[in-house]
């Protein structure tokens, strides 16, 4: 055994020596891209602590003596706090409804045998091809008739419908991989279908629920198109619609714009840093290819 081991060891050494230049190059490329994703964020946060005049003079200079004027303006003049609350209420409600109804539908589609299942799957895949553009006018009309325009529900209901397809498909993909034995065991223990869902499938599918909720949240929180049309009044306006407003009204106040962007981005980013490990896990374990 001894000689082979030595040889193996030797080739390994040679390998790593030869490849270190390549590895360095790889890291150079990767760091370069990482800079494009990090630096603009730093630049914008840094500038949010400067007066507009200073942003214009030298936007690269570090804000050694940070000023909070922009932040005070954002909260007092732009009422960004209200938009925050609006955004959070609408996006969390959407996530809740999508996970609840999508989860139930996914459970049926992945664990029950019945006629018409394939048809439902086909319809769901086809639904992915319907963009918001193709539904917006009738939905707007419907919301006007039901007096839901410029109310929280006016955004929550269409967004829930819009995200259900995606959520149902990836949750169903994940649930399909859960072993049948678990289902049988819980049946023997006297669970009915609803208890089976809440006590077995829900806990086991936690990763996919986590990643689905993250994506639904992001797509809801970041959806400017629907916000502009369904909830564009000051008292219900979510944060993206406010950003759009700021860019057209205060386009010359650089400090305020930098602050508005920072305030929108930083909380989401912080939350992301805490939960990033779930994103990849849930997104990929239940094959999205279906």
């Amino acid at each position: 055994m001894e000689p082979t081991k030595v040889v193996a060891h030797k080739t390994l050494r040679v390998k790593s020596g030869r490849f270190s230049l390549g590895t360095t190059l790889m890291h150079v490329v990767l760091i370069a891209w990482a800079l494009t994703t990090i630096y603009p964020l730093f630049w914008i946060v840094n500038n949010s602590f400067k007066m507009s005049r200073d942003v214009m003079n030298d936007s690269f200079a570090f804000a050694w003596s940070p000023v909070l004027t922009n932040y005070m303006n954002a909260f007092d003049r732009m009422n960004i706090g209200m938009s925050y609350v609006n955004s959070l209420i609408m996006s969390f409600s959407t996530v809740f409804l999508v996970l609840l109804f999508g989860g139930l539908a996914a459970y049926v589609l992945s664990r029950f045998q019945f006629r018409g299942k394939r048809t439902i799957y086909s319809i769901l895949y086809a639904t992915l091809l319907i963009p918001a553009f193709a539904t917006v006018v009738p939905v707007y009309e419907l919301l006007i008739h039901t007096k839901l325009v410029n109310t929280y529900l006016g955004l929550i209901l269409p967004q829930t419908a819009g995200n259900l397809t995606f959520a149902t498909l990836i949750i169903a993909g994940y649930m399909a991989t859960i072993p049948k034995e678990l289902e049988e065991a819980s049946f023997i223990d006297g669970c009915n279908r609803w208890q089976m869902f809440t006590k077995v499938f829900l806990p086991i599918s936690q990763p996919v629920f986590a990643s689905a909720s993250i994506f639904v949240f992001l797509w809801s929180y970041n959806d400017l198109f629907s916000a502009l049309i369904f909830v564009n009044k000051e008292n219900v306006r979510p944060i993206v619609a406010l950003l759009n407003e700021i860019s057209s009204q205060y386009g010359t106040d650089f400090g305020l714009m930098a602050t508005a962007v920072s305030l929108t981005v930083i909380p989401v980013l912080l939350v992301y840093l805490f939960i990033s490990k779930y994103i990849e896990k849930g997104l990929t374990e239940g094959a999205i290819k279906g």
Binding site: M26, V29, A34, D58, V137
Partner: protein, 285 residues
């Protein structure tokens, strides 16, 4: 199981109701509306195929279609290309994998509107990041958002935004390749770049196909980047912004709906063509 029918029905019902009321009914209503000339919601007149005939003579729509296709080209080449390159690189290194994964995903979690606003500041003529940089080198300032540059200028944030998303999908696909494939290749002397092109990329071809389809259908939905950065001026109008202007700004619901249906048909055709061109057998390990 006994009594399953009841559960199948009850569990599917809420999702079905939501989707019927806010997706399927509006979609078919849009198809219906596209055959009408409308003034607001209450006055409409049946005009048959006239809206569709108008589509083909509408030069602005033609331009918007071309702009969308140009952005789509950039997205497929650069967004998918860069994502693939980064995934290959990260797959080949052993240190800092988690760091790159996390950092590359940053733009994905940021809203397109915020990114657009950021790029408004980057491109600004007088004090933007880019012109500041040029001034530092003593080069004359450039109008980044004039006719000749604007479309590429809005394509950059569009591309940058989702590189991280496809990067994660590719990286995960690569991590599913069994390691004995690589060991066998190593015995054959296939390593480095050769390994990437002969082994890794062919093995994740089905994922590349999915990503390209996602990229194509995703580009048709591009809206906020153009809306916030240029409002569709200077040759940057895309289908999304044009539809919004016609339907919501001009309140021309009939013609707006016709444009929306055109976008759906266009998207389906492109997706089918892409799938046909990239046809490969599914690989299971």
């Amino acid at each position: 199981m006994k009594g399953d029918r009841k559960y199948i029905f009850t569990f599917l019902l809420p999702a079905a109701v939501f989707m019927s009321v806010f997706l399927y009914y509006p979609f078919f209503k849009s198809v219906y509306l596209s055959f009408f000339r409308t003034t607001g919601f209450f006055d409409k007149k049946f005009i048959g195929w006239d809206n569709y005939k108008r589509l083909f003579t509408d030069e602005l729509l033609g331009a918007a279609t071309l702009h969308t296709l140009e952005i789509m080209l950039y997205v497929i080449v650069f967004q998918v290309g860069i994502a693939l390159l980064l995934a290959v690189l990260v797959d080949n290194i052993s240190k800092f994998k988690g760091f790159y994964r996390t950092v590359f995903f940053f733009p994905v979690v940021i809203s397109g509107t915020a990114i657009s606003l950021l790029f408004v500041l980057v491109y600004n003529y007088n004090f933007g990041l880019l012109n500041n940089l040029l001034a530092g080198f003593g080069i004359e300032k450039i109008l980044w958002l004039d006719e000749s540059n604007a479309l590429r200028a809005v394509a950059i944030p569009t591309v940058w935004h989702y590189v991280g998303f496809y990067f994660v999908l590719f990286l995960t696909a690569m991590s599913k390749i069994p390691s004995d494939y690589y060991e066998a290749a190593k015995l054959e002397g296939i390593t480095g770049v050769k390994k990437t092109f002969l082994l890794t990329i062919p093995l994740i071809m089905s994922d590349i196909k999915v990503v390209i389809t996602l990229a194509i259908t995703g580009t048709l939905k591009v809206f906020e980047f153009i809306w916030v950065i240029t409002k569709g001026q200077n040759g940057t109008e895309v289908l999304g912004t044009y539809m919004y202007k016609k339907a919501m700004v001009d309140q021309n619901f009939g013609y707006g709906s016709a444009i929306a249906i055109y976008m759906v048909v266009f998207g389906v055709i492109l997706a089918l063509v892409a799938n046909r061109l990239l046809k490969r057998d599914e690989i299971t390990y």
